[in-house]
């Protein structure tokens, strides 16, 4: 923290000039007005203000058809809990929240470990040969919009003429001819999860590679001299040392999994077979922009925000309880 140095004029009177305690020159005032005022105005007006409004709307019965907005307290939230479709969407979102970040973190960490320290067990610490190729390729999906990834897999999974089914039939699994992966209740959700993973693994892999590279090689060498195997090294050295990065990644992924709007709404725009892939954000969108129940939609939004904050708190406490937090979190 560099708080000890202040650049205020009060503390830099190297050249003694007529100065009050504070600096009210045109330069200074205009500087603060523009540098702080403009960004803050934009931010407060278009981000914070809508958040506050949404919190208020969630307590009203406002729908787009009437101009009236009556305060109804927590009725919307009570209705939510008795809304079967909402509960279904909530279940799906919680499923994504539990499964997606965990799987992506495990796979991205594994790949990052292989690439950075997976090489020979003697001599210099090094990764696999040719690992930069894997790095570059893995990042491809992150450059593609989520919507386009949804379209890509729609096409790859076409029941007739799609890549996957054609391959399976080619390999002799004729049962898959015409099988609709996204239209079948048992496979729609797993396939959607797979598509999200396909889109995100590369980015987090890159994050972890960068973090592992920051760990001094001596640390790994010492572990090796003490006879730690590869797996032991990964568990006892890598993960504790890049703990903060894992925490940040986990929170980002959680926020993403609770949203997932672009992916889910493209893969199955109506919420999938028997609503098996409907997530909260899709439902919110439908309630707001198809039914115009703005009060009710805002209540769903507030609910979503609460879940997000609870999740972040959970990640922080897990990190803290497992021995993190001894260093100041970097956020």
């Amino acid at each position: 923290m560099t708080d000890n140095i202040r650049t205020s004029a009060a503390e830099a009177p190297v050249v003694p000039r007529r100065r009050s305690r504070r600096d009210f020159s045109f330069d200074s005032i205009s500087f603060f007005l523009v540098f702080l005022g403009v960004p803050l105005a934009v931010f407060l007006f278009l981000v914070i203000w809508p958040f506050i409004q949404a919190a208020y709307y969630s307590l009203t019965d406002w729908n787009g058809l009437t101009a009236s907005m009556n305060f109804i307290g927590l009725d919307n939230f009570e209705r939510l809990l008795n809304d079967d479709l909402f509960m279904k969407a909530l279940g799906n979102s919680v499923l994504l929240l539990a499964v997606v970040p965990t799987l992506i973190l495990i796979i991205a960490l594994t790949f990052a470990t292989l690439i950075t320290v997976g090489g020979a067990s003697k001599g210099q610490i090094r990764g696999l040969k040719g690992s930069s190729f894997y790095r570059v390729v893995s990042f491809f999906p992150y450059t593609i919009p989520g919507v386009a990834i949804g379209l890509l897999w729609q096409l790859v999974l076409l029941p007739n003429g799609g890549l996957v089914n054609s391959l399976l039939v080619e390999l002799g699994f004729d049962g898959f001819a015409g099988f609709a992966w996204l239209g079948d209740k048992t496979t729609a959700m797993p396939v959607s999860i797979f598509v999200i993973m396909w889109g995100l693994i590369g980015f987090y892999m890159l994050l972890f590679i960068a973090a592992i590279k920051d760990v001094p090689a001596e640390t790994y060498e010492a572990a090796r001299l003490d006879g730690a195997g590869r797996f032991r090294t990964a568990i006892s050295i890598t993960i504790p040392l890049i703990r903060e990065n894992v925490q940040t990644a986990w929170i980002y992924l959680g926020i993403f999994a609770l949203d997932a709007f672009a992916y889910m709404s493209v893969l199955n725009s109506t919420g999938g077979p028997e609503y098996s892939t409907l997530v909260i954000t899709q439902y919110l969108y439908r309630v707001a922009f198809n039914d115009f129940k703005f009060g009710y939609a805002s209540a769903i939004g507030v609910f979503l925000a609460v879940i997000t904050l609870l999740f972040a708190a959970l990640v922080f406490s897990v990190n803290y309880l497992t021995g993190g937090g001894n260093r100041k979190a970097k956020r």
């Binding site: 205020s8 330069d27 540098f35 379209l151 493209v266």
Partner: protein
């Protein structure tokens, strides 16, 4: 940041690439990573090939090269279905928003990081809230805020919204960066008589170049791929951005007839950014690694 991994056969005198265990592990690792690479690349290549096939050939022969290379799919998508227009819209909105958010974000981060004043912590936490809260919560009120400003369904309105929602991330990232810069230099600038404005633009901002470049790239990807904000706030067809155009195809995939143009639409959206990435991947790697040390 070149890793030593790229050097072929770096045999040290104690024979680093020996040992059966090592070889087995290396083989398995390579196997896993190659399978992963195939899973990443194969679908994209397949779609690229399909996009050059005629209407009937797309479904009848999923494998192999096109019998005759058709470019009509691209013409259809780009001209008659308005993808070209979406492309220009996207470049306009993302370009404007990117310049504005980098300027405003850098200024705000600089003030928060280098000056102490009443309420600066509060602003910092407000930004954190902006980063954590789901955008979805703000969508409904945002719709009416923009409507009251007569900016609903306009490209400037969308760009302004992009700026607001990319601001928290930008400020956070650059905050850490400006904090890490040495203070002596800004003091020296002050002693030499540079005002606060000049100190920032001629001394501090150039020093923060690596950080600014990194956030610019991240913001570019984030805004280029943004979907929810345009879907909710930009519903006029002639103002569509790329993600919206692409979504139109995807939603109709279940009962579409013209698959050829769907393949082509995907390629049009993906290729520019992908080519850009392959050319600048070195810088990108660097930028992501800086992002991780927030």
């Amino acid at each position: 940041m070149t890793s030593q991994t790229d050097s072929a056969h770096a045999r040290t005198h104690d024979g680093a690439i020996t040992g059966k265990g090592d070889r087995a592990v290396a083989t398995i690792s390579h196997g896993v990573l190659i399978i992963w690479s195939i899973i990443v690349v194969a679908p994209m290549l397949w779609v690229l090939l399909q996009s050059f096939k005629g209407k009937t050939e797309v479904l009848s022969s999923p494998f192999g090269l096109p019998e005759k290379w058709h470019f009509s799919n691209y013409y259809t998508v780009w001209v008659s279905e308005g993808m070209g227009r979406s492309f220009l819209n996207t470049i306009f909105v993302v370009g404007t928003a990117l310049i504005a958010v980098m300027l405003l974000g850098a200024m705000c981060a600089y003030v928060l990081a280098r000056f102490r004043f009443f309420g600066s912590r509060l602003i910092y936490y407000a930004m954190l809230a902006g980063l954590t809260f789901p955008i979805f919560l703000a969508v409904v009120p945002l719709f009416f805020v923009l409507q009251n400003m007569y900016l609903l369904n306009t490209l400037p309105g969308l760009a302004l919204t992009y700026v607001a929602f990319a601001l928290p991330f930008t400020v956070f990232f650059l905050y850490a960066f400006f904090q890490g810069l040495p203070t002596e230099i800004s003091e020296a600038a002050q002693i030499d008589g540079a005002g606060k404005w000049r100190t920032f633009f001629q001394v501090m901002a150039p020093m923060a170049k690596p950080g600014i470049a990194a956030v610019t790239i991240m913001n570019f990807l984030g805004l280029w791929n943004q979907y929810l904000l345009p879907v909710a706030l930009n519903t006029k067809q002639e103002n569509y951005v790329l993600t919206q155009s692409i979504a139109r195809y995807a939603v109709s995939a279940g009962y579409a007839v013209d698959f050829g143009s769907m393949f082509a639409a995907f390629v049009i959206v993906v290729v520019p950014v992908l080519v850009f990435y392959i050319f600048f991947q070195r810088q990108l790697q660097g930028s992501v690694s800086q992002g991780s040390s927030k």
